[in-house]
Each structure stands twice: as C-alpha cells, then as structure tokens.
Amino acid sequence: MSEQTLQETAEEPQAPIRVETPFRRFCSEFFESKIATVALVTLVAILSLALAAPWITPQNPYDLAQVSVLDNLLEPGEKAFAGYTMLLGSDGSGRDLYSAILYGLRISIAVGLASGVIALMIGTAIGLTAAYSGGRLDTLIMRAVDLQLSFPAVLIALMLVAVLGRGIDKIIIALVVAQWAYYARTVRATALVESSKEYIEAARCLGLSHARVVFRHVLPNCLAPLIVIGTVQTASAIALESTLSFLGVGLRQTEPSLGVLISNGQEYIISGRYWISTFPGVALLITIVAINLVGDQLRDVLNPRLKK
C-alpha cells in the first residue's frame, strides 16, 4: 500500500516530462543518423519479407508439385504456366526467382543467426572463463584465440567443411568454429576492464558467489561490445555461408540459400541470362550492407557510454 502511494507521488509530477531512460536515449542517439535509420528500416523489411515468405510468394519453390520445368529460364516479367507473373524471372529448373529469393533469405538469415548466437554463447563462456580465472588457463585460451585469428575465417571454414562435409548443421558448426574467437577476445578484454572496477570489488566483498558476480555483474556490462560484434559477425557469417555454398561445399541444392541460387545462375551468365545470379546477389548485398550499417551505428552509440 505504502509502496503504491510512493510510486504515484513519484510519477505524477514527472508525467508531462519525457523521462530519459537509457533505452530512450539510446533510440534518440541511434536515429540521429539518417543512413542508420534507413538501414534499420531496410533490415526490418527484409526480415519480415523472409518471415512472411509462404504468404506473399506465388509458389513454394521446394514443392515439386508447384514447380514446372516448362517454366524454366523465363525472363523477368514473363507469365508462368500457372498464370502468375514471374517478377524476377525463373531459374534453370523453373523455380520462380522472387519466391526462391525470399525462401533463400530465410535459410541464409537462419544460418547466420544460428551460428552467430551459438558462437556468441560459446565465445562469451570461454572469454569470461579466461578473464575470471586468469593465470595459465587464460594464457592457454588466449594463445588459441590468437592462433585462430591469424588464419582467415574463410580458410578455417573451408578446412572444417573439408572434414565435416555439406549440409546446414555442418555449415553452422564450421561458422561457429570460425567465429567464436572474435567473441572470446572481445568478452575477455571487456570483462578484464570491468573486473578491475569498484562495483565488482564491492560485489565480491559482499560475499556473493562467483557465479553471481560473473553473470549478474560482469556479464551485463560486457553486453554493449557483444551486441556490436554480434551484428557484424552475423553479417559476415551470412557472407561466409553464401561463399561456401557458391563454391559448392556449403548448403545442398535441397536447402537453397542465396549462395546456392547465385551458384545455380553461374552457368547461364555466359548466355546472357543475367537475372538468375544477379537478383539473389542484390538481396544478399542489401542484407549484408544493412546489417553492417546498423552495426556501425550501434558501435558509435554504445561506445561513448563504455568510456563514461
């Protein structure tokens, strides 16, 4: 009862003024940049298009009953056998390219997100362990991280694909292994800085358990750089997956991501059928650039607060 009155009296005089919560400040700073705003809107649009794919496309490109080989290699704007217009043309096996791109976006983004999230979790766990334990374990982990970062990600992914083979699960594993080190290094660096601050010392002096100090006090303060690196790494995971798929060592034809679609169009380029490779590539490019621009702005907005 008394709490409620307290809240009411606290809120009433403030009601007309906009309270500056961290979230609102974050939003206003983020939307200061026009480019970043456009990028975010584009990204949201792409995500919703990918999510809504089954309801806004004329054809399910993987349902063989809906795909007719008679429709193959139609130019953009031509009418399909089933009556609808193929806005972006069709590929060599008669799939409507517009539908295939939206379904491909789903796979590309899903693979990028899945590997991003798993790499983030593994990298964070390893980075926190290194920072919190220190000593020999820390040296060992960081040696491994340095070693891995001295090889380009594409090479590590190729190496793993050579060992594991093709398919969604294997590509995700390869991407996670290729990327965990970036997260581990970032988390360790931030966690070391945070651990030396007074509030962590205070938390330790209160006799809180290690787990509580790490997860409730250190980790939340490492989130800002993690979010930034997470967006950028997800974009590069999408690019890496499409590169592997294009090379024919990534996803299979039955799980066509944008990279597979582009690769399918390669043989038709010489005969001037530009659309099969071009349009999926444009979709891929827009997605990657939008994520990178959002990530850039996040870095600018989140960084100054780290310094404070």
Binding site: P152, L158, I269, I270, T278
Partner: protein, 325 residues
C-alpha cells in the same frame, strides 16, 4: 634475439604439429576414409584389399605416425583422380596463385593510394565522399558475386575481356608468367581486380586516415614553409610517412589473398591452388585436400613468423614483452 627467434620457431613447430593432428584426425575419424577412398561399386573382397593396401586396418595412432613420416619426406600420398603425387600437384598450381595474388596487391596499391590521397587531401569534396562510400561497399560486397557481375559486364555484354582461364604464358627473366603476353594479361586483369577489391578499400582507408593525421603535423607545415611545391610535399614528405602502415598491412594481407584466391579462382576458372582445392573437395580427392591444407597452414605460419621477427627487429619492446611473460 637468437633466443627470441628460437622460441618463435618452436611455437611455429607446435602449431604445425597441432594442425597436422587436427587435419589428420578430422579427415580420418570424423569422415569415413573407407567411404572416401574406396570405389563405391567395389565388392567386399576388393574393399578389404584396398583397406589393407592403404593401411586403414592399422590402429589410428599407427596410421598417424605413417602420415607424419610421409609428410616429413614430402609425401602426402597420390591424388586418386589425377594419379600424381599430391604435393607435386599443389606445387604445379602454386605459381598461378602467387601471380594472381601479387598482381592483385599491385592493383590495390596502384588504385588505393591515389584515391586515398585524394580523399584525404580534399575531405569535403563530393568525389571524396563517393570514394569513401565506395570503399565501404568494397568491404561489404560478396567477392564471388562481384566476380560474376564482372564477367557479365566485361565478358558477356561488352565482350572486352575473356571470362575464364589463364591464357597464354611466356618465359621472361626465367619466370613463366601470363604477365608477358597480351592474352595472358587480358585473362589476368579481371580475377586480379576481383581479388583486389577488399584491399583497395583497405588501402584507401589507411591512406586517407594517414593523410588526415600527417597534414596537421609540423614536418608538413615546415616543408610548406620552406616553399616546396605542393607536389613535392605530397609526393615525397607525405607519401613516405604514410607508406609505412600501408606496406605493413599489405604484407599481412598477402596470406589472406592466397586464402581468398580459392573463391576468385573458382569463378574465373583460374588454374591455381584454390581451384585445385575446390575441385578436389568436390571429387573427394582426399590426399590433395590434406596436402593443400597442410601447405597453406605452413605458409601462414611462415608469414606470421617473418612478421613477428621483423617486428621484434624494428621494435625491441615486442621482444622484451615476450620475455616478460
């Protein structure tokens, strides 16, 4: 100094050893070598004979020792498809890749430095803004897609350049290269430019940042105050100081170029190591894949070693810090 180099060499040896473990056990334990090696239409007796002949009936650690023994003699096994020693195949394909990587380095310097200088000297010029926006795009564009678009534009629509292959090569100064023939050059241009895209952006950004920083410093002001021409200030005083980070970074990028050439070579059917790797991967030609991976690891370890030693020669602090830990 000697101690430092010996320590680094030992670390490098450990890395190569670990990588051989990972590659060998990766291919042999996670993947099924019998599946990969034996003709799928072979009958049971033949399968067993092959397993025996390849030593696959031995315990895994014996197999690994065999593998190590083979490596130390430069023997990675024979290619299943081409019937030649794997190492020989890789070495045959290496010059084409190195040529591609070197030419693409030259392109990134030749394009990146003037563009970066312009963007740094006139930061508010609309052309500079366009250059900087272009450099962001250069980082984001998927290399393989740009390659396809280049083929479409230059080979299919305009018909200026051949789309694939290496073209004629000739020997000059004892080096066989496609640089010496017109046909070779026309084949080389597109793949090299494609491979150079990321590095052009990188050089533009490095040079621009360097120019912006150096312009404010006393030695530039002094050179101007002496009455030197703008060309001399930029060409001699400014450029010399900017080139240090550019050369360092590009040196480090050389290894990345070798790795990324896998993509470029596949698009343009350039007969280098990268294309050999992808072909072998798709044909399950295991000895060639293992040999490629071990050799590229070796190349990277050597590059990193050279960089480390060069740094420690230039900057004694690196050495001291290493001895401290």
């Amino acid at each position: 100094m000697t101690v430092f180099i010996i320590r680094r060499l030992m670390q490098a040896a450990v890395v190569v050893f670990l990588m051989s473990l990972i590659v060998f056990f990766g291919v042999n334990v996670i993947g099924d070598p019998v599946d990969m090696l034996v003709n799928p239409e072979a009958d049971q007796a033949e399968i067993e004979r092959t397993i025996k002949a390849l030593g696959l009936d031995q315990p895994i650690h014996i197999q690994y020792l065999h593998f190590l023994g083979g490596i130390s003699e430069g023997d990675f096994g024979r290619s299943f498809i081409r019937g030649e020693p794997a190492l020989k195949l890789i070495i045959q394909h290496m010059p084409a890749t190195i040529e591609l990587a070197l030419v693409s380095l030259v392109i990134s310097i030749a394009l990146g430095i003037p563009l970066g200088l312009f963007a740094g000297i006139y930061p508010d010029n609309p052309i500079s803004r366009a250059i900087m926006a272009g450099s962001i795009l250069g980082f984001s564009l998927p290399t393989f897609w740009v390659g396809l678009m280049m083929i479409m534009l230059f080979a299919v629509w305009l018909g200026w350049l051949p789309s694939t292959g290496r073209g004629d090569t000739a020997v000059f100064l004892g080096i066989r290269s496609s640089l010496w023939t017109l046909d070779g050059l026309s084949h080389l241009f597109m793949p090299a430019l494609n491979l150079a895209l990321t590095n052009i952006s990188l050089v533009i950004r490095l040079v621009r940042a360097g120019v912006r920083e150096a312009m404010l410093q006393d030695y530039i002001k002094f050179a101007r105050a002496k009455g030197l021409s703008a060309n001399r200030v930029i060409g001699v005083h400014l450029l010399k100081n900017i080139m240090i980070p550019v050369v360092t970074v590009l040196g480090l990028e050389f290894g990345n170029l070798l790795a990324f050439s896998v993509v470029t070579e596949t698009i343009f059917a350039w007969p280098g190591m990268g294309k050999l790797l992808i072909d072998s991967l798709l044909q399950l030609d295991r000895p060639v894949v293992v040999a490629y991976l071990m050799i590229i690891v070796l190349i990277f370890v050597v590059i990193n070693l050279i960089v480390d030693i060069a740094y420690s020669l230039l900057d004694p602090r690196v050495r001291l810090k290493d001895q401290g830990t």
